[in-house]
């Protein structure tokens, strides 16, 4: 049995856990992040809408999530300069199509003003159509929030993890905590594979499974009920791509179905918001597809099912009976910080959530000095964003940059190799790190080439490569394994 000792163990490698690891990496501490899935960000975060919200949905005075969203928004603008993830600061337009909705918009405007959101603008119909000519002409007015945008949630998580690792944080994937016990002021965390990690402090950032982690540690009892959202992705040549994120007027449980110009260049419509029983339910449905296309078409022109590339779903980890985040030291056990119920706007808030978690750790006795030096990983050049002249210069340094593997998203062999070398050894890992297979052919042409590159880098067989989790085998065997039996 392996034993390793740490000052802090973060359970969960989604946006919250990764941002916390990044924050703690600034201190002279020994930290570990434990992720149950094959790679970080493979839980809630990968299916996130990728919005950096504008700070006008919740009161920063009355709600924790409102306060952290506002702070997170500001931190995102800073982080995007330092870290290697896509951030598209396009702004938000919330559109009203009736007087009742306009009433709501005025409330959101007031909320934004009270929160101190900069440059927030209440718009009439003409102004709305000027800001976004693709809006349905039936729009009667709305709200414009310029300092908001979209990110690729997975590359955000990956960049936090890469930076944390570079600064000494250890990351253990496929580590599912099955028992958590405290003895002599030291937590012992055991994985399903019997690996043991010991730590003085625990941060529970386990997303959909934060209730289970809390329970097995003897901390608070609560129930995370998954609120599922389906998303539909449209081709980068879709006429529906707006210049700003288009929001409807929100309902009690959701900000509604949005039309999102993704940071990667495609258009995404969604998400729905439905409570489901099963935390692992990632199904999409014909019914929700119809609903989303209809709602999105009502807001902007050019939405067509013909441009559909793919769809997916993910669940927001909502604490039953509570809409706000639950971030606090446990009142039942020592040295255990809860970061549960981080539903929307959890991604936006994550840098601020991480700051807050660190404050709580320090307030609860964790002692550490800031490091003198903090390192940032070198950014991997992105071929898609380069002119041919720039690509030519890059080619001279590394010819693999001129070998386009994913034709739809224009991803080169060099970028894929860089991703694998960072530890993304699954097909989904490479996809989320590079965008390869994320385009219109959905990997029909390049999956095999990518598998060859992974196999080459890792020295493994092609049949050892998984889509994501342990049993997600892509290739079952070699020709000749099975026999043809004539009936």
């Amino acid at each position: 049995m392996l034993h390793s000792y740490y000052d802090t163990a973060i359970i969960g490698g989604g946006a919250t856990g990764a941002a916390t690891a990044f924050e703690l990496a600034h201190y002279k501490l020994k930290c570990v992040l434990l992720e149950a899935k094959a790679e970080c960000g493979f839980g809630v975060s990968k299916a996130n809408s990728g919005i950096v919200h504008g700070g006008f949905h919740y009161s920063a005075k009355d709600t924790l999530k409102g306060r952290l969203e506002l702070r997170g928004n500001r931190l995102f603008h800073e982080l995007a300069k330092k870290l290697d993830f896509e951030f598209y600061p396009c702004g938000i337009l919330a559109a009203a199509f009736s007087e009742t909705e306009m009433e709501q918009i005025r409330k959101l405007h007031q909320c934004g003003l009270a929160n101190g959101v900069e440059d927030i603008e209440l718009c009439n119909r003409e102004r709305m159509l000027e800001l976004e000519p693709k809006l349905n002409e039936a729009v009667i007015g709305g709200l414009y929030v310029p300092h908001a945008g979209t990110v690729e949630p997975y590359s955000y998580v990956f960049s936090l993890i890469d930076t944390a690792k570079l600064n000494g944080v250890e990351v253990k994937t496929n580590f599912e905590a099955v028992s958590i016990e405290m003895k002599d002021d030291l937590w012992t965390i055991k994985s399903s594979e019997n690996e043991i990690v010991q730590a003085k402090y625990i941060v529970n950032a386990a997303g959909l499974f934060a209730d289970r982690v809390s329970r097995i540690a003897g901390a608070e009892e609560f129930k995370i009920s998954p609120r599922k959202g389906e998303e539909y992705l449209l081709d980068r040549l879709s006429d529906a791509r707006p210049s700003k994120i288009i929001f409807p007027v929100p309902s009690a449980h959701s900000k509604g179905v949005l039309v999102i110009p993704t940071a990667g260049g495609t258009t995404m419509i969604g998400p729905t918001a439905d409570i489901v029983e099963d935390k692992n339910d990632n199904r999409t449905s014909a019914e929700k597809q119809k609903e989303i296309f209809s709602l999105a078409s009502n807001m902007v022109s050019g939405v067509s099912v013909r441009d559909l590339i793919t769809s997916f779903s993910g669940s927001r980890p909502v604490i039953e009976g509570k809409e706000d985040f639950f971030i606090a030291p446990s009142s039942k056990v020592k040295n255990f910080i809860q970061a549960a119920g981080i539903q929307s706007p959890g991604l936006t808030a994550s840098p601020a959530v991480a700051e807050y978690i660190c404050e709580l750790l320090f307030a609860n006795g964790l002692q550490a000095e800031k490091k003198d030096k903090f390192l940032y990983p070198e950014k991997v050049p992105v071929l898609r964003k380069m002119s041919a002249e720039q690509a030519e210069i890059l080619y001279r340094k590394n010819p693999e940059y001129a070998n386009i593997i994913c034709r739809c998203e224009m991803i080169s062999e060099a970028e894929i190799r860089a991703a694998v070398r960072k530890g993304h050894t699954t097909l989904d890992g490479v996809k989320f790190a590079t965008r390869a297979t994320m385009g219109r052919c959905q990997g029909g042409f390049c999956s095999l080439k990518i598998m060859h590159i992974i196999a080459d880098e890792c020295g493994c067989a092609i049949s050892d490569i998984m889509k994501n989790e342990k049993k997600s085998v892509v290739i079952s065997g070699v020709a000749g394994d099975l026999q043809y039996e004539k009936n």
């Binding site: 769809s311 030519e392 001129a402 989790e469 892509v474």
Partner: protein, 414 residues
Amino acid sequence: MKRIEFDTAVIGGGAAGLSAAAKCAENDLKTVIIERENRTGGVLNQCIHSGFGVHYFQTELTGPEYALRLADKLKSSDVEIMLGASVTAIAENNGKYDLTVYSKTHGVFIITTRTVILAMGCRERCRGNIGIPGERCAGVFNAGFAQQLINTEGYLPGSKAVIVGSGDIGLIMARRLTWSGVKVECVVEIMPYPAGLSRNIAQCLEDFSIPLHLAHTVTEICGRERVEGVKIAPLVNGEPDLQQEKFIACDTVLFSVGLVPENEIARLCGIELDPVTKGAKVDGNLMTSKAGIFACGNVLHVHDLVDFVSQEAERAAVSAVRLCKGTLNAADDANICAAEGVRYVVPQKFSSACGGKFFMRSTFVADTAQLTVKNINGEVIFSKKLHYVKPAEMLTFELPPINSIGAIATLEKL
């Protein structure tokens, strides 16, 4: 950046590109083929079954044999073949075209050319494109991808499969999987008739007793990490009847749900596309809306037989040759449109003085149908009785010279 000049640049080295380049070279054009993969032949390389070449080579060949014969034609020519090279953009430059090319061996450079022949072929529509609900587990493949896995790499995609869509690749794969020991549970087709050729239904499904469920759809793909099964249901009034939904256990799902011409670079350089074929709109010379850019093969419209691809590619090549030599007759003044019963007609333009040769597809299945072409005044200028009409089989017809700037084609069940 390096710049290389040619008379014609052929984008794509599959059946269309090789056939077009051979014809260009025969006529002394300085020709280059730009091919993404590390060998020519395109999808023919993975089509190891026979049935190719009966029209074009007057003998039945396998896909790789057909590709080899085309490649042999080029051996004695001066055609330059750039492998592992991708064209990322086409831009106009003083009556010529600049192609931006990326290649690991040749670098990043520009090809300047008088004419361009688009021969990029097509891609498979995938599960995501048609919005099939359910989980996003491993074990879901495009049929062509699975074909590549088995035939060119020697890997198996799974052990028990359901095939969605009865396109030709799906049918061929039903047989291929069966021969490889993979149990094919069934083929599920959303339309009330098969999408593939009749001979493939007989030889790939019936001969192996593989059930074909017509007018059925997949209502859910099940399985968390790897496929565990699919739910299928019959369509009633266009909607799946969930009362009759049933579960079929399998570990693999193949999609053969249509092909889409790979026209993104054409679209980005401003070439006008046909919304139905998703290929360029062309005239009788197979010239697109950009003078000097021609299109042929599956990037123009999806063909049933590679032989017709080769013939069409030669026709585009002859036009490129004529343009380079200043003898291209560009008097294509008439439009032809598809109406009732006709899904599309290619080319979309022709010369009213010369008439033209056309490919078309029907929208229905019938033993006999009447093709009628009228001019814009409603006068019948051509009619023909057609047999065994179905959307899966391409139809051809020729028009005589007409005294009108427009023609409308209709197809009626008899």
